[in-house]
Symmetry: C2
Subunit: 396 residues, 2 copies
């Protein structure tokens, strides 16, 4: 019989997806260039030419049997080694290839990491605002996601609430920095304090509490921002990465879990992940994409457009009277809505063809997300729509 | 804390993997060309040039944002439509793109299909001999895999045992035709009888019993063999496919689930699969591979080598006195060992650098698998090793 659990999940249609579909439909009416579609976190700059060239060269020159052959379920050994080397060089870590498990993007990485350390009866903590897909990743391990209320002052961490919620039942703490949707980067102070509290609680409870760090925006950070590598500050840490944003390859589903060499069972994490993937049937990311990405580990797309867009929007919106913490990275910003009901606010914005995402979907009330991964020219044209919107609707 | 369940899985190292590692190590001693490595089911012929050309053309000509952009989690709509059309044309079905869910190979397909219809408390039946990875796919749904004993007469179905084991607890029946490891193809008579029994039991129990059909070897069938399309004969059927063997792309992880348009909740299966993939973090197969495969749906690698190898080996082994049912497809054959203990038999064969897989790993005692997806030249050279082996060890 059809399993009800998954059938039930069909009811909860993503708000972001609905807004994106609205934008597409509206685009058919008035031309998509006239819809200021700030709904989706899709990279707006192409992958580096070197990635494309590498793919073509491999297809032309490599033995197809080798190129398209089975990858080990852990990932191709040479690729894992290269990822480890690159992380060591950049962040002063001591990973070996054995600590790296190649995944289908950050989604695969987080889902595997969670299954390694969380099980029925456990709790997993994350911090509002948070990426709503964390819920299914956690739910399907059988553990329960608990959300620490936001620090709306500066979107770092509400440590008082965290300290209270970090009970004996917590198996893992899931962070995302640079953050979707707030655009904030946890400072070195924040990460240090987080690590210190977690270490103290580990001792107190006598069991491991893992830090799972979701880092798809690691490379999108703005000038002068302090961007610590979280795993550097806490031994029991699993770093989850995706190349979707840095190399503009969201459809190619490629990323990894990096287990801190100092974590409990560090040498087992990747082989455990490969057992987990046996059961989910995921097995491994595609060979050719693994091999190609390993050739361009030190490159990124031209990410400068995101900072440019942020500066334009931040200046205009704060001038218009919006309260907004200045983003340190990503391609999101998270201003306070002009009325308590963020959904009502975003609904009104739609009349000006401004597609904004209400913050409720991220576990916070009264804010909205702008995904400014769109052409700068369109960002500039949207300013007049923002002005008109707040003037006509809120008399600002 | 580290989840013990996955840690425990690390104990059960695959026999096939161990044999393959032995073959590689032995190859370093005496040259791999002198090891008759029949252990792994890895395609031995390259992907069609048209696949490579399509990949290169897309990389050269397509907008990288579009080419590498997010796929819907169900798969790219145009790809799903093309898969449906191709199946309809070949098998007289009525699929639409909505019935197709793109997956990371047959592993992903089976894991998703099982999660749609099996849950804790249920049983899933399969038939010996069977692919050992079925166990983790089933186990991680929380249901229990039960194995119907083999019909060792002709490796079709032991219907007496099946009828007895098809109790009210059974939620799904998992078949694999053409079969790994036996090489046998279920005849139209077998499929009809299977469908008839399942339909009768559905009525009797008043609930659905799904047929999950694992078909990665669908295209590798030999001259004159009757090869029915199972879903044609049973409404509640989910067909699971991989392009790994037909297009020699095992590392690229691409396949699909096709839900029979007449099955219960036919229009929901693919969207349920996309909810399942949210939890496992699998999301979707890589965009570029989906798009490329959709351009070569009607092509295969040159698969003729497998039939050629089968004929050479079948002739020689039966002449040597082996009992063996003649394979109808795949690149496997499954002769009876020359002593009861198949593991002991295969251990002795290793002395002649013949790497054979004992049947215990497939749920049958006393047989062995030959994966003859190797160069014909090597197959021919292996014959003398077989002769020497059976003469010296078994005085044949």
């Amino acid at each position: 019989m059809i399993v009800q659990k998954y059938k039930d999940m069909l009811q909860g249609k993503s708000v972001i997806r609905q807004l994106s579909e609205f934008a597409t439909a509206r685009g058919k009416e008035i031309g998509y260039e006239n819809v200021f579609d700030y709904s989706l976190g899709n990279p707006s700059v192409p992958t580096p030419q070197a990635f494309t060239d590498t793919m073509i060269r491999m297809l032309q020159e490599k033995d197809p049997m080798e190129l398209h052959g089975y990858s080990q379920s852990l990932g191709i050994p040479s690729v894992r080694d290269k990822v480890a080397d690159s992380l060591n060089k950049r962040f002063g870590m001591n990973y070996t290839g054995n600590h790296i498990f190649m995944t289908t993007g950050a989604a695969g990485a987080i889902a595997h990491a969670l299954r390694c350390v969380a099980q029925p009866g456990d709790e997993v903590l994350t911090f509002a605002p948070y990426f709503p897909e964390y819920a299914p990743y956690v739910n399907l391990t059988g553990s329960v996601l608990k959300v620490v209320p936001a620090d709306t002052e500066n979107f770092q961490i509400n440590f008082e609430a965290f300290d209270e919620m970090l009970t004996e039942k917590v198996a893992a703490v899931l962070i995302n920095t640079p953050n979707n949707p707030s655009g904030m980067v946890y400072s070195t102070d924040t990460i240090k304090k987080l690590a210190q509290i977690m270490e103290q609680k580990q001792k107190q409870y006598g069991h491991d509490i893992f830090l799972i760090s979701d880092e798809p925006y690691r490379e999108i950070v703005f000038a002068g921002v302090d961007t610590p590598y979280p795993s550097k500050f806490y031994d029991n840490s699993l770093s989850c990465y995706s190349f979707s944003k840095s190399l503009s390859l969201p459809g190619e589903r490629i990323g990894y879990v990096a287990a801190n060499p100092k974590c409990t069972d560090a040498d087992l994490i990747s082989v455990m992940c490969s057992q987990i993937s046996r059961g989910t049937g995921h097995n491994c990311p595609p060979s050719i994409i693994q091999l190609a990405v390993a050739q361009v580990l030190e490159l990124t797309s031209d990410l400068s457009v995101y900072e440019k867009n942020m500066n334009i929007l931040y200046k205009e919106l704060t001038a218009l009277g919006f309260e907004c913490v200045r983003p340190g990275g990503t391609f999101y910003m998270f201003p306070k809505a002009l009325e308590e009901d963020a959904a009502a606010f975003c609904e009104k914005a739609k009349k000006y063809d401004l597609i904004l995402v209400p913050s409720d979907t991220f576990g916070v009330k009264g804010y909205f997300r702008i995904a400014y991964c769109i052409d700068t020219e369109k960002v500039e044209r949207s300013l007049e729509a923002f002005r008109k919107f707040v003037r006509e609707m809120y008399h600002l």
